[in-house]
């Protein structure tokens, strides 16, 4: 019986972009199809092949598995792998659906979280899940007028527009960034985004490669964590306290590691609602600049936060800034923006183009119209409403929740972050609360590693104001039921 000689082994190119297992696979596949490896020839055992090639055994296993899935070789326990009969090969390949051999799928433990965040609410349940702006104050009437005005200019509807975004909108955004202290912000630093989620994906794929390390807050926004996971980035978690990210931890990490970037939400952090104090901001900007590690400043809630200097104002060359109109106007607009050092704007723009060519020019034009009219008054009303909702929540919690449940202090913001007593796990609490007609997001979804099993997040904005108290009372009942148990 024929065996493959070692002379027939693939020459691996370790610098190639083609994965090693795929090089082995392609080499053997060609040899089989060309007849160099005839029917019934025995392939070297995986371990021997791996040793000869200087690769891990799993690399060979992976290559053989794909050949087997296609029916090119037959693997049998005890007798190893042999080249399969050629006749009917193509037909057998078809017997394995193509999706079985797709590339490995990197998703986290909670792959439906982004979907949850985007999902519509269920009827009857008081759902504190979605991070949406409250129904009142409503921008709708003014916004509808802005859309009507934008529709009058046919060019705004019937063309793609520039990939970097609608020029006049980018000018307006740059001017607002200057007003917030980012003195060098110009339209050429600004790219309009289809929501700030798009900005997170852009930095994840433009500033890093699979396998690279990054620094993230712990807890952090689950949507961002999921994106980093899909992109194969390795998250180094840094804790958050009432004053924001623990910058001293960042400093310690940068002494020995060189992550690709630091992802932080310094104002009204999701989920804790913490706003980083001025000292930490300055320190973070300084150490990041000194270490040559860029900061990704995710600032969806910035315009609603107590006034603070954005990180990008402190270190304009070291920060990619992301924000959105989803929280201040309406999520359905899907319009956000990024501000970045001009030298990397083209790199970021090429990714944005690949994701969706350009954000809707028509919607951008409507947003600009609204920015010039009702926006500032609306944001002011919204800020007041957020403070009022938090007061209502705090009063209800004092009445309905045991003292042993701790809540993170905050001024305004969308969220309330709570820690349960030792005997109440957040997932069990969610079950109990759902049975009573209330829901929220459990804490584990906010952690890149372990953590959060005794924490949960309420989006106080996701329900009608008059239901906040009722929902908190239902959750209180659920907590009590678990503590009694």
């Amino acid at each position: 019986m024929l065996k493959i000689g070692w002379a027939g082994l693939p020459q691996l190119d370790r610098a190639s972009i083609v994965p090693l297992y795929r090089q082995i696979y392609e080499h053997l596949r060609s040899a089989i199809l060309a007849g160099t490896l005839p029917e019934s020839a025995r392939l070297p055992p995986e371990r021997m092949m791996a040793e000869r090639l200087g690769v891990n055994r799993s690399t060979v296993v992976h290559a053989y598995r794909d050949l087997s899935a296609e029916g090119l070789i037959a693997q049998r326990v005890g007798s190893g792998s042999r080249v399969a009969p050629q006749a009917g090969r193509l037909e057998r390949a078809a017997s394995v659906p193509w999706w079985v051999t797709l590339p490995p799928w990197r998703v986290g433990e909670f792959p439906n979280i982004l979907g949850e965040l985007a999902a519509k609410q269920e009827a009857g349940r008081i759902s504190f899940v979605q991070g949406v702006a409250p129904d009142e104050p409503s921008p709708l009437a003014d916004l509808a007028a802005s859309f009507t005005r934008a529709a009058r200019d046919a060019r705004l509807v019937l063309s793609y527009g520039d990939s970097e975004g609608y020029g006049p909108l980018r000018e307006a955004i740059a001017a607002r960034m200057v007003a917030r202290g980012v003195l060098g912000a110009q339209p050429r630093n600004v790219i309009a985004l289809t929501g700030s989620t798009q900005g997170i994906m852009i930095v994840a794929q433009s500033l890093a490669e699979p396998g690279d390390e990054i620094i993230v807050e712990s807890p952090s926004y689950p949507g961002a964590l999921q994106i980093f996971q899909i992109c194969g980035l390795r998250a180094i978690p840094v804790p958050v306290d009432d004053e924001g990210m623990r910058v001293d931890h960042v400093e310690a990490i940068l002494r020995t590691r060189r992550p690709r970037f630091i992802y932080t939400m310094p104002s009204l952090h999701n989920p804790t609602n913490a706003t980083m104090n001025a000292d930490r901001r300055l320190r973070l900007a300084t150490i990041a600049q000194r270490a040559g590690v860029p900061i990704v400043e995710d600032d969806p809630y910035g315009p609603l936060a107590p006034p603070q200097t954005p990180l990008i104002a402190l270190a304009p060359d070291s920060v990619v800034y992301l924000s959105t109109f989803s929280k201040t106007i309406a999520p359905s607009l899907r319009i956000g923006w990024l501000v970045a050092p001009h030298v990397i704007v083209e790199r970021l723009l090429l990714r944005k183009q690949a994701y969706d060519m350009a954000s809707s020019l028509y919607v951008q034009a409507a947003v600009l119209d609204y920015l010039q009219r009702g926006y500032d008054a609306h944001v002011e009303e919204l800020r007041k409403e957020l403070l009022r909702r938090r007061e209502i929540a705090d009063a209800s919690i004092a009445k309905h929740w045991p003292r042993s449940v701790r809540t993170a202090p905050a001024r305004g913001g969308f969220y309330l972050w709570a820690t349960t007593p030792r005997d109440v796990r957040a997932r069990a609490l969610l079950d109990a609360a759902e049975r009573r007609g209330a829901s929220f997001l459990f804490g584990e979804a906010f952690y890149a590693g372990s953590g959060g099993d005794h924490q949960f997040r309420l989006a106080l904005t996701a329900v009608k104001r008059e239901e906040i108290g009722k929902g908190i009372a239902r959750i209180g009942e659920a907590i009590s039921s678990l503590m009694r148990a």
Copy 2:
């Protein structure tokens, strides 16, 4: 003077997601920062290091370069690489801007093409560049009414909506797919996209990995080629003739190679305007199914094409179908859709979520309203307009262009694909035409490899109807000027 012993070398994990150069870099960096590799220690020469580790020299060069950029080692010609003094290391690192050491940037030869395609038109010039629908018939009046109606429902504006898209719109799309012969199409097979470009990026990142091979038409849509390049996919080109993709070439390739997918635009192909005939469609569907290689059917112009069975109707389990309302209604909507076997919908959806969470619910609702009212009549008018424009173009060409310029025959469609005589290169022609106030896209942008230097594409829809003749006359003058020269 100290040297590193071979015992201190990194253990490479060849199956790891972390690139080898990065593993070497991280190992040496840790050793330097930990003091294991003290100041002034000499690193092994790149060639020796590469031999010992069994990697290519370029891998080591890459690792050393990054260490050097950070100021951790000093490289000097003649005396090799040494560990740099620790003091002031962080400061030196900052002297190299962080963007210098970003991951390699994979872009093609024409990285601005997607931008060009999206760009607004220049005043005064007759620009046949952008693939936009003609200004007449205009959907604007009806569309504005649809937006107004959609704005009446606050939930459609003030929430994110499901990531897979607005349910009623997905139902309407599924029903229209059924009417086109895709009998099994159901809403659960449909994902709403932010334009079909997003669908191309989704398949490029979900169905393949960097280094994988795919089959593309040659020529093909430059936006798709650029996305494939950014994603590190290796394109195997297959020629297109007047009857569409040369399926016999695909068959030959599938005999010896296993590409991840076959990307084709079978109806009103961009740029040739060719529509694949029924025989080839059946054959392509059959061989792809048999080989277990999925087809990505990009069909932005499908509703405007002569009636043909979509590939997904012939092999529903082997096709991911992409289309858009950008060509039939308006590009500024940024609404497209995909149809895929249900088993892979979740995988595709997770990517879509990462790109932008969800497409605008408000715009989707307006599109649905328009679909139920003016859409079909508008598409019918548009089809007639495309035929009329092609007739005008053909008549002008007969009058103004030398016979030696060949044009691809086509019924309707947006584009006219032309081949220049041997002595006229398309890029030189573009220069000459621009000086005369007309522009177009040169052919090379449509090829993954070489080709196209004597071809160019006119978007007949991008100009006013009465300017088609004038623009073609100007291009004719440009051709003549080059032929005389």
